[in-house]
Every structure is written in C-alpha cells, then in structure tokens.
Amino acid sequence: MAGAIWAVTESGDDGLKSISFEVIACGQALAEALGSPLEAVVMAADGSAAAEALAAKRVEAVRVIEDAALAPYTPDAYTAALVEAIKAEAPSLVLFPHSYQSRDWVPRLAAEVDAGFISDVVAHHIDGDDTVFVRQPYQGKLNSDCVFAGDGINIVSLQSGAYLADDAAAGDGAAEIVKQPVNLAAASRTEVLETFQEVENKVDLSRAEVIVAVGRGIGKQEKLPVVEELAEALGAQLAASRPVCDNEWLPIDRQIGSSGQTVTPKLYIAVGISGAIQHLVGMKNSGTIVAINKDANAPVFSVSDYGIVGDLFDIVPELTNQIREAKGTG
C-alpha cells in the first residue's frame, strides 16, 4: 500500500477516549499486515496531552491538528480540518472509531475527499491482495465481508469494543509529534448552544442486583404484566430496550444501552430483545445473562450464558411460577 495508515483519535472532557486506543490497536495490526506506516491523529483545541499519550504507543508519528475552532466539536470544522490534512499528506487508509461524533462528520469527509467508506467494522482479515472488513448488517443478525472497490483513499470506522484498547502496543521510544497546520477561517455553520443531561435518572438501575429487561418482542404495552410479575417474583428491577421506551410503554429512565443506562447486575434476563449492539453495550458485562427469544439466531444469545428459544408468553409465566415456588412464595 502506498500511503500511511492514519488512526484518528477522539477526545472528551477527560482526555483521550479509550476507543482511541482501540483504533490504534486495529491500526497496528493493519500496518503490520500491509507493511504501511501507522500514524496517530489528534484533533483538538489543545492536543498536547493526547499527543504525548499516543506517542508512547507503537506508531510512526503523531499528527496534531490543533485549532481553537475544534472546540466545541462541529461537523464543519472537523471536516474542513481533516480534508486539508488529507489533501496535504495523502494517507491511503484512515481509521476512526464508530462513535456518535464520527457518525456526524466522517460521512461528510468521505464525500469531500471522494473516499470509499466502510463503517461500523468489527474485524478484518487479509485475503490475498484484499483487506477484508467484516460488518454486521441486518441489526447484527448477519455478517458481511466488505472490500474497497478502488485504490484511492479509503476510510474505515470501527465498532466500539471490536478491538481491544489494551492491545495497543507501546513503542520502543516516544514517537515524533508533528504539528499539522490547518486554516479553519471559514466559520462553522453549526452553532452549539448547550450540552446537558436531560434529567437525572429517576431510577438508578446501575445498582440493581437482578434486572428483567423487556424488548419489542412483548408486542404491546398491555402485555407488560407478564414481565412485571417475573420481576416482582425475582425482586428485580424492570428495564427495557429502546423501542419499548420510544413507544412510551415504559419510561425512558428504564432504557438500557448506548443511549440509556449501563448496568452490571448479578443476573440479567433479556426477554424478547434481539441484542442489537447498542443494547448489548449497556448490559454485556452483567454477571449471568439469560435470554428468552423465539429466534434461535437472535444476536442476544451470543452474549448470554443461558438461553431458551421459544415464545416468551409460554416461558415467562412458567418461569415466574417456578421462581415463586423456589423462593417459597408460590
């Protein structure tokens, strides 16, 4: 491969996000396989701390794109900055985390530099001359292998958790830190007015020992007592996937997942939940996970310890009864 591989990192209020190191880990693997140099990229109003942390990793260089216009984040400023850097340096492959922020601007970048863009990648392998990127379309129910159709500049974004931040290897010495000049004179069209947390979660599920979570498989709000009774028998908190809250069958403070709460109870029972990645990130570190789903191929089973394939309306009432008996309350 001709040009360098860039691993574009992302920073938050507390400095570099851990997904940044996941991108470095993937970049290191690709750099080795393809024989290309890997460079880390920092974009920030002040990128010095991030640059130093990245320079300790096994990278050829750290490119720092620093400009007051990069804070707060806006898609126009980020796109303009990286378009300029890419035009100047001509990397061949640019890696990003598939974060809420990158979803907002990296497709614009791809359009502006006329790049191929394979998003939300979970793995890669080399197949002859092709670098194959694996995605999970159809809401994670299927996998697909994807390759770039052209040799121009290409872009990949990585699903969070697909590569391990701990795998980002340290370098022999500190890598060179290069300031990448950009000119962001054109004002961003987006005005950031306010960043806020809606309401303090009324229900704090993060402390619950046992959680019964219900998904769209419940069908309608009137059926909720089926899972409410199970939760009651277990002394569990009731939680839900996003569609259940979107439909206002349960309040939003019961939502588990990337836009809801993250929980780690001893026991998590997922009822009628398919197991989309945005749900899994909120619960996959629970102690014991049980899934009840009529679809044997539902992705939720891949993170579960125990599964029952069948109709929740048969299984859940039975489970409620047997739990009550086991607890001597039946």
């Binding site: 126009d76 809420y100 979803r103 907002d104 990296v106 497709p107 614009r108 791809a110 359009a111 502006e112 191929g116 394979i118 998003s119 939300d120 995605r135 999970q136 379309p137 159809y138 299927l142 996998n143 697909s144 292998d145 994807c146 390759v147 770039f148 159709a149 290409n154 069209r189 987006t190 950031v192 007015l193 306010e194 960043t195 806020f196 947390q197 996003r242 979107d246 709460q261 001893k266 026991l267 398919s274 102690g287 014991t288 049980v290 679809d295 089973f301 891949s302 579960s304 125990y306 599964g307 029952i308 394939v309 069948g310 048969d314 299984i315 039975e318 489970l319 047997q322 086991a326 607890k327």
Partner: protein
Amino acid sequence: MKIAVCIKQVPEGDAHLKIDADGISIADADLATEINESDQYALEAGLRLVESQGGEVVVVCLGRDRADEAIRRALAMGAERAIHLNDPAFQGGDAAATARALTAAIERENVDLILTGLQSDDAGWAQTGPILAARLGWPSATLIMEIEPEGDTIKVKRELEAGWFQWLRLPLPALLTIQSGISTVRYATLKGIMGAKKKEITKVTPVDIGLAPDEVGAAGRKTRTTRLYVPEKTKGAEIIEGDAATAVATLVEKLQKEAKVL
C-alpha cells in the same frame, strides 16, 4: 416549509432472512417489508413540521418496484407526493452511490430541509444522510430528537452518548438525520389510504436526474460486499431444550446451582 424525507424499504424486524443464491443479498420472494424504523420517525417529524409551518413533504425512495408499498404507506400517512428512484442501474450501490442518486433527485426540488433516518436497519451504514448534505454543500446534524423551526434557522436537539444531549442551531437549508423516539409515529387512516391512491409518484431513472447509469448503483460504488453469511457462533449461550416447563425447571436449577444467582 418544503421538506424531503428519504425512506428506505427494509425487511420487517421479525422477517426470516434467507441468504440469496448470489451469496450477497437477502432472497426477497415473500419477504415481509416495512419502512425503515428511523425513517418512519423522520417522516413523522416532517409531517408535524408541515402541520405547524405549512408546506409539503415529498418522500424520496430508491428501491425496486416492490418499494411502491413503502411509498404508498408514506403517502397514506400524509406525504404530498413521492419520487421513486426505480431502475436496475440504481441497485447494488453502497452509501456513496445511493447518496449520489438521492442528491441528484432532491437537488431539483428546491427543498428547505431534508430528513433521513439515522441509519438503515438492513445495510446499517449510518452514512447516507451526511453524505447527501456534503454533496449539496449544506450543513447537517445527526441523531436529532427535537426540531424547533425559527424562520431562516432551526434549533435541534441532538442525542449524545449515555443520556446527554445538545441543542444546536443551523441555517436552512439543512439536512437532519432523525433518531427513533422523536415523536409517536402515526398510523395511516383509512381516509389516508384511500387518498394515497390518487397521489403522484414520479418514477425516475438515472438519466432523468442528470446522472449516467454508471455513476450510481453497483457501478458507482466505492465498496463492495463479497459475502453475506450467518455469523459463526464463537461463544454463546447454553441453549436449554425442552418444553416450557422442563426448560424453565432446568434453567432455575442452573441459576441456583451453577450460576448461584438465585
């Protein structure tokens, strides 16, 4: 306010997905379909804006003949008319190729606002909306949960991670990608369904919108899917067999004795 809403027809959430003989797509005989979930919310948001501000919603859909069903449903919900990008040349595109086609179709409509879903439930690129905006040179914002029109600008609430949000202001024209949950999606009424039959669906080919057939679809794409398959199960749940009573009895025993969580 004139609003274009992009809707994609996708397999129904519960549909049985059978991989086609070509090894890269889903067999579509008897496949149950629906309007992509976040696109339904985008359409709802567009219809509400028109109800409060006046104007019209035009739905734009790239898909085969059978996408007519999704388009009719959108018209029945209240969209004024539709543009259907329907030609074999449009098929097989990635997000870049699809966005190029959608851009060319919408460009000639002089809309003030474009709404798309935040991602498709089948391909799941989460790219098409912002690419469209970039091609038009318009500002964009993604994962939108609320829209407040303010004349030449709009104020929008964007979802961030873990319960955080942000208010932004953008000048019009602009593109927004809509997150599900923005407002409850209406059902098509019987009157709406009857009315939809009389509404106009403009079918367009690449040439109609000023594009060469090799700029769109499979010929215009920059990425290629080489294989679609059921993932190999590396680790996974121990599936407990038996009828409901037996399976549940086994599960309870395992939760007590193995996992020790009961």
